[in-house]
Amino acid sequence: MIALAGIGRVFRVGGEEVHALRDVNLQIAAGEFLSIMGPSGSGKSTLLNVIGLLDRPDAGRYLLDGRDVTALPDDELARVRREKLGFVFQFFHLVPRLSAAENIELPMVLAGIDPAERRARLDRLLGEYGLRERAHHRPSELSGGQCQRVAIARALSMGPAVLLADEPTGNLDRHTGQDVMAVLERVHAGGGTLILVTHDPEIGARAQRRLRMVDGAIAGDDKA
């Protein structure tokens, strides 16, 4: 489903070239649960951003569902993100003035989905992630775990093919982190493709396929 061939990404920092990604080749099949681990600056977040179409590679080819998305125009990329990809961030990135329900609804609003359909999906998601009582609370009134559940529900509201999570437990205590991992694993169990960036080995070990990155290159690819 995801095919990266010879992907390179170069940043210029103070006149010096930093190779965040060098010659990355990666195939990810539908329904896989993949963790990307590695030290800080190893390029794992950049790889996730490239896969998530938030960042454009400087070299290589990226096929998503058999379609070359390397050179798509920005608006088309936005459309692909909207329809095929869901993001979960370390810092949740909920809009503070919107309620939990409104945050979950946001991608559907951007996609212009009919309000009746939106309400039906919202209701299902609120129930599924145990947020029904908190639906009308602002993020500032929610716990960290609840915030991340809202973010996951938001990422899934458009029924994406791939869920991308960047350190989803990085800002949570151990216990809450376990809860969030359980939620993500349930998504995978339901047939979703899950790509997770973490530097917590314990979390990373829960994935069936574990990618290790060092200096912008894939150093290890273990399949359980």
């Binding site: 938030l54 990135h93 951007l110």
Partner: protein, 406 residues
């Protein structure tokens, strides 16, 4: 994104940053209110002047001796010779024109007016019975000058209320003036009417005048020359015809020389109208500068908003918003602010208009339609214009970098 969702989203942003929203509304409101109030004052002044001219009488055509070749110069001065006088016969000859309803010859002079031991100096007007209708005068008591051959002098006069009060006892209302004798210079006139209180009308206070038959005034001031001839055209459309008839008749009577000037009330009015409309536009334009200032404030606040909401904009992009959607969201916000500000400003401007109207009830303050339409339009246009730069900046934000800021 659906239009309703876009509006709801922007509404949420505006509510979320309440203080900011209020400040912009205030700036926009003041700008719009200033344009409305200032143009209302200008328009009020214009209407006031137009009404003052209207009080002169309707469809008025004025004939004065001498021909002004250059606008603004004293008639007769430039050509270097005294123009031929206009006589009473000239005036009566104008009745031949089919375009003219009535005419009134006019002689103006100053006279010592005596009644018993009281006396004062007043303007003395010599005219005919038709003067009353041409000038739209009302009588408080008695009647106006009698009809009849204007060449014959009858020793009667009509006086203004102030004159009546000062010469015939206190109280402007019922005076004992009627039937009394009044001495003007060395002639005596019987008072047959008192004019209703009318006040100032273009330099002449009709409360302070004495009107005598034109022949009497000719004898009094020892002249056969008329000061003016006032002619009333049969209708507004007939004014040009009346004017050309008058010029034709006067030329015939003055051996082919065009030595009179014919002024139509319309021409004078049109000039004043143009001047005052230009003035209103000018002050309205100055007030509109405050709208531009409000526009810059909108830009400023929007730019700050882009910085404040970096993470949110990055998130929206990650969730699949295109640059166009982000731009549109910012524009919607700006338009909503402008609409709110304009509504506030229109209300405040109208209120100001009513308040000034209370202070100066004589002047008909009312904002012209163009100002009521242009002020909100300019407000909306400037806020869209000034939000182009912030909206572009927001739309161009790189989502990875926007999201990495904590």
């Amino acid at each position: 994104m659906r239009a309703a969702d876009l509006v709801a989203f922007s509404w949420n942003v505006l509510r979320g940053y309440g203080a900011r929203t209020l400040l912009i509304l205030l700036a926009m409101g003041i700008g719009v209110a200033a344009v409305v109030a200032v143009s209302a004052i200008g328009e009020g002044a214009r209407l006031y002047v137009v009404n003052q001219f209207g009080a002169l009488g309707t469809n008025l055509v004025i004939v004065l001796p001498g021909r002004s070749e250059t606008a603004g110069a004293m008639p007769g001065v430039l050509v270097g010779k005294t123009p031929r006088d206009i006589t009473l016969d000239d005036a009566l000859a104008l009745k031949r024109s089919h375009a003219i309803r009535r005419i009134a010859p006019l002689i103006v002079g100053a006279g010592d007016v005596h009644s018993g031991t009281r006396h004062r100096e007043t303007p003395v007007l010599g005219s005919t019975a038709e003067f009353k209708d041409i000038r739209g005068m009302e009588l408080a008591q008695g009647r106006f000058l009698p009809e009849g051959d204007p060449r014959h002098s009858t020793p009667v006069c009509v006086i203004g209320t102030t004159v009546a009060a000062e010469l015939f006892g206190a109280g402007a209302g019922e005076t004992r003036a009627l039937g009394e004798w009044l001495r003007v210079g060395d002639r005596r006139f019987r008072v047959i009417g008192v004019l209703a209180k009318q006040g100032e009308s273009l330099g002449f206070n009709t409360d302070e005048i004495v009107i005598v038959p034109v022949a009497a005034a000719q004898a009094l001031f020892n002249t056969s020359a008329l000061f003016r001839i006032l002619a009333e055209a049969k209708s507004r459309d007939q004014i040009p015809a009346a004017k050309s008839d008058i010029e034709e008749i006067m030329r015939e009577r003055h051996e082919g020389e065009r030595d009179v000037t014919v002024i139509t009330q319309d021409a004078v009015l049109a000039t004043f109208d143009r001047i005052l409309t230009a003035l209103t536009l000018a002050v309205g334009g100055i007030a509109a500068i405050s709208l531009a200032v409000a526009g810059i404030l909108v830009m400023n606040v929007m730019l700050i908003s882009v910085t404040q909401r970096r993470a949110e904009i990055g998130l929206l992009k990650a969730l699949g918003a295109t640059g166009g959607m982000i731009r549109l969201a910012f524009f919607t916000e700006a338009v909503m602010l402008a609409l709110g500000g304009a509504a506030l400003g229109l209300a405040a401007g109208k209120l100001g208009e009513v308040l000034i109207g209370q202070v100066y009830p004589a002047i008909p303050f009312s904002a012209p339609l163009w100002a009521l339409a242009a002020a909100p339009a300019v407000a909306i246009a400037t806020s869209i214009l000034f939000s182009v730069a912030p909206a572009r900046q927001a739309a161009r934000l790189d989502p990875v970098r926007a999201l990495s800021k904590r």
